[in-house]
């Protein structure tokens, strides 16, 4: 098992980042699967990261409690802004959440006494372990699997297919939208809390528009057909830049081209392609 130790000491940060990015991808998968394009996930991640980091630095609470608070506060914020925001649909919803994300970033930037402003927070203890992240990803995936076979999961599919028809069947569409929005925010906040206790340092610029777009890229790349798509998207978007270090300044181009190619040629995402390939590989019965 010696190779495993060397592997872990070299790549542990990368593996843990894969884990947190999968959580982020799942957070946007929840809303995308419901047909909602919200780009506030980076802001919720930031709220989670700052909440948890401040709790650890100033109060030194147990890590589990810190994580729960890091997930809970963004969920509360989502609950408050979700009610008026989710009246909007389509591009209007995307723009409102984008504006909200910018407001959060600017507030963090300007609340210098607590957040350190543009300089960020330094010296956050590294508490994130591989076990915690794996457990969190596993639990979330299991919960989503249970959800998919439940009433809630089927309602989500119905809403993404046809909102009006779903509403006519007597389903409270607004409540379901709020539910996925709040859960998505909690997941993003949890990922932010893990991330803050992994990277030692956080600053407001990490939770801006670029991060939001990166999260969206993971969701779009994987596709919205299954949570496994989000897992695939999170994995690829984390590992690809590492493999393409030689590109230097051109590196972000990969995310851009991925977005264009997927939207143009495989709008249902990679996971759909994987399933399609598997099905056509099976002999016809």
């Amino acid at each position: 098992m010696e190779w495993l130790d060397t592997f872990w000491s070299t790549y542990s940060t990368l593996v843990l980042t894969v884990g947190t990015n999968i959580l982020l991808a799942l957070s946007i998968y929840l809303t995308l699967a419901c047909g909602l394009l919200t780009v506030a996930n980076a802001a919720f991640m930031g709220i989670g990261a700052y909440t948890s980091a401040l709790l650890t630095i100033h109060a030194d609470l147990p890590f589990l409690l810190v994580l729960s608070c890091g997930a809970l506060l963004p969920a509360l914020v989502a609950l408050v802004i979700g009610h008026p925001t989710l009246r909007l649909s389509g591009v209007y919803l995307a723009m409102a959440t984008l504006a909200f994300g910018e407001v959060v970033r600017i507030v963090i930037l300007n609340a210098e006494e607590t957040t350190g402003g543009a300089l960020g927070l330094n010296g956050i203890p590294q508490r994130t372990s591989g076990f915690d992240v794996a457990l969190a990803v596993g639990l979330v995936l299991y919960a989503l699997r249970c959800l998919a076979c439940s009433r809630v999961g089927r309602t989500m599919i119905a809403i993404s297919q046809d909102e009006v028809a779903t509403e006519l069947m007597g389903i409270n569409v607004r409540a379901y939208k709020l539910l996925v929005f709040v859960f998505g925010a909690a997941l993003a906040g949890l990922a932010g809390a893990f991330n803050a206790h992994l990277t030692f340092f956080i600053s407001p610029s990490e939770y801006g528009f670029e991060r939001g777009v990166e999260i969206l890229t993971m969701g779009v790349l994987g596709g919205t057909g299954s949570p496994w798509g989000a897992v695939l998207g999170g994995l690829l978007i984390t590992i690809l830049p590492e493999l393409l270090r030689g590109l230097g300044h051109y590196r972000p181009i990969v995310n851009g081209i991925i977005l264009i190619v997927i939207i143009l040629y495989s709008p249902r995402g990679l996971w759909y392609l994987v399933r399609w390939a598997r099905r056509s590989a099976q002999p016809a019965r």
Partner: protein, 293 residues
């Protein structure tokens, strides 16, 4: 002091309005939220700057070069992204996500080619004589920027109102199918709209680059966010609303910096945007219209 702020607000607001016009035109006609508009803005600024620095062109010729480059970008954007998605009748969020990809791609190509640092026009290239106008200092550069911005806006409004193409755009914005039945060259007009919009965005980029004399790869990002704020304020797809919204934001920003403090400047734009979206989604100046989505 007040007169000085007024001049600043007019020149800044003019550029915002120019940028927002292109943005709102694409939304109104192609029904696409073009998030690559900020990258085209940046492309215009770089084309003009490299024209001056690399090819030693005079400023006016560099502006023409920037127009050619951004027009090509607008045409390519329509042919390569919007047209295939139109043909497939993709849901309206698909082109928006694709334009995010275009923005990232353009930005990182420019960053790779010219570096991430802040580039400047050679200072002796820019006219610097200043006039005194009712207590305000106004440089001839500012005068030219204001003149160019207003001339382009007037040209666009005239074109939309009086030319055949402008008239054909109205049924197109209403319903592409009906427009095609009326004998309008739908695909050609979509391309033309994308080109004109890119031209307007690129020109705004050139003007901002001259105004603040700072060109960098990510300059399109804050501008895009402001453009979104402007078209939301003015009502999506509304030409006059974009004009008014642009000046409104210019004045709001300049006066909040002057009398409230510079840290609040960006918060003003987004606070306004968020509030308007929640309270008056049809825009400050628009009439309520039926929901499109």
């Amino acid at each position: 002091m007040l007169a000085q702020q007024f001049v600043n607000a007019i020149s800044l607001g003019g550029v915002y309005a120019l940028f927002a016009l292109g943005f709102t035109l694409v939304f109104g006609v192609l029904n696409v939220l073009n998030l690559a508009h900020g990258a085209v803005f940046m492309l215009g600024a770089y084309a003009a700057l490299q024209g001056v620095v690399l090819f030693r062109l005079p400023v006016l010729a560099a502006i023409v070069l920037a127009m050619v480059v951004t027009a090509l970008a607008g045409w390519a954007l329509d042919r390569m992204i919007f047209a295939p998605l139109r043909a497939r009748q993709a849901p309206h969020l698909a082109p928006m996500i694709a334009t995010i990809g275009v923005a990232i791609t353009l930005t990182s190509v420019v960053e790779g080619l010219f570096g991430a640092e802040n580039l400047r026009f050679p200072i002796q290239m820019l006219p610097s004589e200043a006039f005194s106008l009712g207590g305000a200092q106004i440089t001839s550069l500012e005068l030219k920027i204001i003149f160019l911005a207003f001339a382009l806006m007037a040209l666009l409004l005239w074109g939309l109102k009086k030319t055949r193409i402008g008239c054909a755009l109205r049924p197109l914005a209403e319903s592409p199918k009906a427009a095609a039945l009326l004998g309008v060259n739908v695909e050609g007009l979509f391309s033309a709209t994308s080109i004109v919009a890119a031209l307007l965005g690129g020109m705004a980029g050139v003007l901002i680059a001259l105004y603040s004399n700072a060109v960098f790869p990510h300059m399109g990002q804050p501008m895009l966010h402001k453009g979104i704020a402007v078209v939301i304020l003015g009502g999506m797809g509304d030409i006059r609303g974009a004009l008014l919204g642009g000046f409104f934001l210019g004045f709001a920003e300049v006066f909040s910096v002057a009398y409230v403090g510079s840290t609040m400047r960006d918060a003003v734009a987004f606070g306004l945007l968020f509030a308007v979206l929640l309270l008056r989604p049809e825009g400050l100046f628009g009439k309520a219209e039926q929901r499109r989505a």
